[in-house]
């Protein structure tokens, strides 16, 4: 497998505080990779630097063979990276279908002036339906997104990110606020995404989900990477157990 | 030439201290309550008119005092009637924007209905006797303006640094939720903020009125000056507002003296646009994140 995404000595400082400290991550093409760590470990900051929402203080990000450090998010989307956000982030006043259409922005070839003169090209309805079906949202297409139940809103977020047609999908705490059944169904969704040759990098607190779905896991603490490995390796790693459960649990 | 320069510097510092007052009011309402008050100019206008009405019976200085009391009431009304309903639910930055814009139009046109469009002259016993100090001409009114502005600025700074509610204001500005956990009545802090902000604007109006005319439209220019200063100094930045006010006053006076009096007012906007282009966080501000 080839490396799709890598960071080199990625660092973020705010004032005197170093939120992310020389972190090296790699994400193999086709894998589901997890980024975990206790709250405040710097996961979301790292995520924001990778996805272009935050410019790193130093270090670099490489994606699909080119350096993308500090590129604006819309440029990264063009290169095949899309993401979800920690707090539910949808277009609340648009319908579910319109949310997907906005997600397909880059796939619709229709410059501004053609909007005014030429025929408005019909949208690729098959693609829309496919995404809606994948996230089990097909029967909600005409509903205003803001009035969906919470679980459906979280699914819609993923649907929007998939509509971009990414090679790499970044999921920021996709299971936050989901009940256990919903979280387990999310495992199925992520597997399906993986089957479609989309690489996934996820930040998540729900360990059951992380252990169940990831091929590889990176662990951050205090802005530094403290471990990397398969779920089994991570679960057995004394340093990780100490971080999560406190001292003395490793040999319990 | 040197005399002209010095004279314009003095004139500039006098006006600059007024601009600083205006900008301080705008800056605390933005810094603490996240509201850009587009009716701030009308508060200035009301301060001048209140003084005009009160001075006719009680004389100028008592008139200024009465006007200040009136401004407290106006500030509280603005917060309770207009801004408080907008804080319910999710507060967007925009709703208070447009709401204060509407308030600005209402106040301006109410003033017009009451006083008519023609300018009034507010007379002050200090406005007519120039004093010559080291060859520079100033009126007592100028000295009063600079003195009161300086005193008000100092008092405000002191209050915010040392006062019990000044501390509360800073806490709310930084983190509203945690401030609530400390037992700070957030609504009280907002009321205080807008009362203070209105007093600062009204005081500026009351002080400048004897130097210029009073009409229902003077607020528009006052708002723009205040906003230019606030952009110059950095939004929500108190030392920035003071420094920005003085910079604007001096640049305008020098511009009027050496370039063109007609475009004196354009200098502020030109400065503002330059700052927006090259240093949007303001001269004294910290670097901000790209959008």
């Amino acid at each position: 497998m080839a490396t799709l995404l890598s960071t080199t000595d990625l660092t973020a400082q705010f004032g005197g505080l170093t939120a992310v400290d020389r972190v090296n991550l790699t994400v193999e093409e086709g894998s589901v990779t997890g980024l975990i760590g206790p709250n405040g470990a710097g996961k979301t900051t790292a995520f924001n630097m990778i996805s272009g929402f935050l410019t790193p203080t130093s270090g670099s990000v490489n994606f699909a063979g080119r350096e993308i450090t500090g590129h604006a998010p819309h440029r990264l989307a063009k290169l095949g990276m899309s993401r979800t956000f920690q707090h539910t982030s949808i277009f609340a006043n648009l319908t579910v279908r319109e949310n997907i259409l906005v997600g397909m922005h880059l796939k619709i070839d229709q410059p501004f002036f053609r909007t005014l003169t030429g025929r408005i090209k019909p949208v690729d309805e098959d693609a829309v339906r496919e995404i809606l079906n994948l996230l089990e949202l097909a029967d909600r297409a005409k509903i205003q997104a803001g009035s969906l139940p919470y679980g459906d809103q979280r699914k819609l977020e993923i649907a929007i990110a998939l509509a971009v047609g990414p090679r790499l999908l970044l999921l920021d705490e996709p299971a936050a606020g989901m009940n256990p059944e919903e979280a387990m169904r999310l495992v199925g969704v992520i597997r399906m995404i993986q089957k479609r040759d989309i690489t996934v990098l996820l930040v998540e607190h729900n360990m059951r989900l992380v252990m169940g779905v990831c091929d590889r896991i990176h662990v951050l603490e205090h802005g530094r990477k403290i471990a990397e490995g398969t779920p089994a390796e991570i679960a057995a790693n004394p340093r990780v157990i100490e971080v999560y459960l406190g001292k003395g649990q490793a040999n319990a | 030439m040197i005399w002209l320069f010095a004279q314009q510097m003095v004139n500039g510092l006098v006006m600059g201290s007024v601009y600083a007052l205006l900008a301080l009011g705008l800056t605390i309402s933005f810094g603490i309550a996240r509201v850009i008050n587009f009716a701030h100019g009308e508060l200035y206008m009301l301060g001048a008119f209140f003084t005009y009405v009160a001075a006719a019976r009680f004389g100028y200085l008592p008139g200024v005092g009465i006007s200040v009391l009136g401004m407290v009431a106006i500030g509280l009304l603005l917060d309770r009637l207009v801004l408080k309903p907008l804080r319910k639910g999710k507060m967007s930055l925009w709703a208070p924007f447009l709401a204060t814009l509407a308030v600005s139009v209402i106040l301006q046109n109410l003033a017009m209905a009451v006083f008519g469009p023609d300018p009034y002259l507010l007379s002050s016993p200090f406005a007519y006797n120039p004093v010559i100090i080291a060859g520079l001409v100033v009126t007592k009114q100028d000295i009063l303006i600079a003195g009161v502005s300086l005193a008000a600025t100092l008092l405000l700074t002191l209050f915010i640094k040392k006062g019990r509610y000044g501390l509360a204001m800073r806490a709310v500005a930084r983190d509203r939720q945690t401030a609530a956990l400390m037992g700070i009545g957030i609504e009280k802090v907002y009321m205080l903020t807008f009362a203070l902000s209105a007093v600062l604007a009204g005081l500026a109006g009351a002080l400048v009125a004897p130097k210029a005319m009073v009409d229902p439209f003077i607020g528009r220019m006052a708002l723009l000056k205040g906003l230019s200063v606030v952009i110059l100094g950095g939004l929500g930045n108190i030392p920035g507002a003071i420094a920005g006010g003085l910079v604007l006053g001096v640049s305008e006076a020098l511009g009027a003296g050496f370039i063109s009096a007609a475009y004196k007012d354009a200098i502020g906007y030109a400065l503002m646009i330059l700052v927006l282009l090259f240093r949007p966080e303001g001269i004294l501000g910290k670097k901000m994140r790209r959008a």
């Binding site: 004032g15 005197g16 206790p38 709250n39 405040g40 470990a41 969906l148 139940p149 919470y150 809103q153 705490e173 936050a176 606020g177 989901m178 009940n179 256990p180 607190h205 729900n206 360990m207 059951r208 989900l209 992380v210 252990m211 169940g212 205090h222 679960a235 157990i241 999560y244 459960l245 406190g246 001292k247 003395g248 649990q249 319990a252 | 019990r164 501390l167 509360a168 800073r170 806490a171 930084r174 983190d175 939720q177 945690t178 401030a179 609530a180 956990l181 400390m182 037992g183 700070i184 009545g185």
Partner: protein, 233 residues
């Protein structure tokens, strides 16, 4: 002392707490453990009056306190030290302490501040510095000190160990126990099971807005199921 009955809390359409029951008795340290996003912070915020519950009741010292504003809850004797410490970074250490006593009108505020400096000498050294310049552990001490300035009967601590270096974790754990010895009851919301259940008398395990286990702290610490709920193994 604190009695939470049948609490339901919603964020918009999303249910954050469901049929939540919990109690803290006088003089007790109670640990509320569970993964991130389980609802621990939400419970604390509801108790301290930042969030309104949809249904259920909260009683404190024989008074009903649900629906009260944050300052009224504080005056009733409950102090909430929020997650992430949330010290006011551009206020000085001293100002942070003073603001913790904002709800008080008595004349002993200064004395209390001195007592806290005695207790946390590091803070005394830095009393004039901006709180933002303190290290994580020092900020946590400041947050606790600030909370003490409100003279609480019950102190609720939200993730006080988060992101602290191991030495600091032990130090803060000791502080929690000594608070308790001063006669303050403690509700401790924490991810770090070992420390939390180590200092607490009783504990509750929260998963996705529901309490799934409760009991004596030692017994919970020994229960393999708790560990499983955490690591997903």
């Amino acid at each position: 002392m604190l009695e939470v009955k049948n609490l339901d809390v919603y964020y918009g359409p999303h249910r954050a707490l469901e049929g939540f029951n919990l109690s803290v008795k006088e003089g007790e340290i109670v640990a509320l453990v569970g993964a991130n996003g389980a609802g621990k912070s939400t419970l604390l915020k509801v108790v301290s009056g930042l969030i309104r519950p949809r249904s259920g009741e909260i009683h404190f010292a024989d008074r009903r306190v649900d629906g009260l504003a944050a300052d009224a809850v504080l005056r009733a004797g409950i102090v909430h030290v929020p997650e992430g410490r949330r010290v006011f970074s551009d206020l000085t250490v001293e100002e942070n302490l003073l603001i913790g006593a904002f709800s008080r009108r008595d004349s002993e505020i200064r004395q209390d501040a001195e007592r806290i400096y005695e207790y946390f000498p590091v803070l005394k050294e830095r009393r004039g510095q901006f709180a933002g310049s303190l290290s994580g552990g020092e900020q946590q001490m400041l947050a606790i000190g600030r909370g003490l300035m409100g003279r609480p009967k019950l102190m609720m601590l939200d993730e006080p160990l988060l992101g602290l270096a191991p030495v600091m974790v032990e130090k803060v754990a000791e502080i929690i126990q000594s608070l308790n010895r001063m006669g303050i009851s403690v509700l401790l919301a924490e991810q770090n099971i070992t420390v939390a259940l180590g200092v607490a008398h009783r504990g509750y395990v929260v998963e996705t807005g529901r309490i799934t286990m409760e009991g004596e702290a030692g017994a919970l610490a020994a229960d393999p199921q708790v560990r499983q709920a955490y690591l997903g193994i």
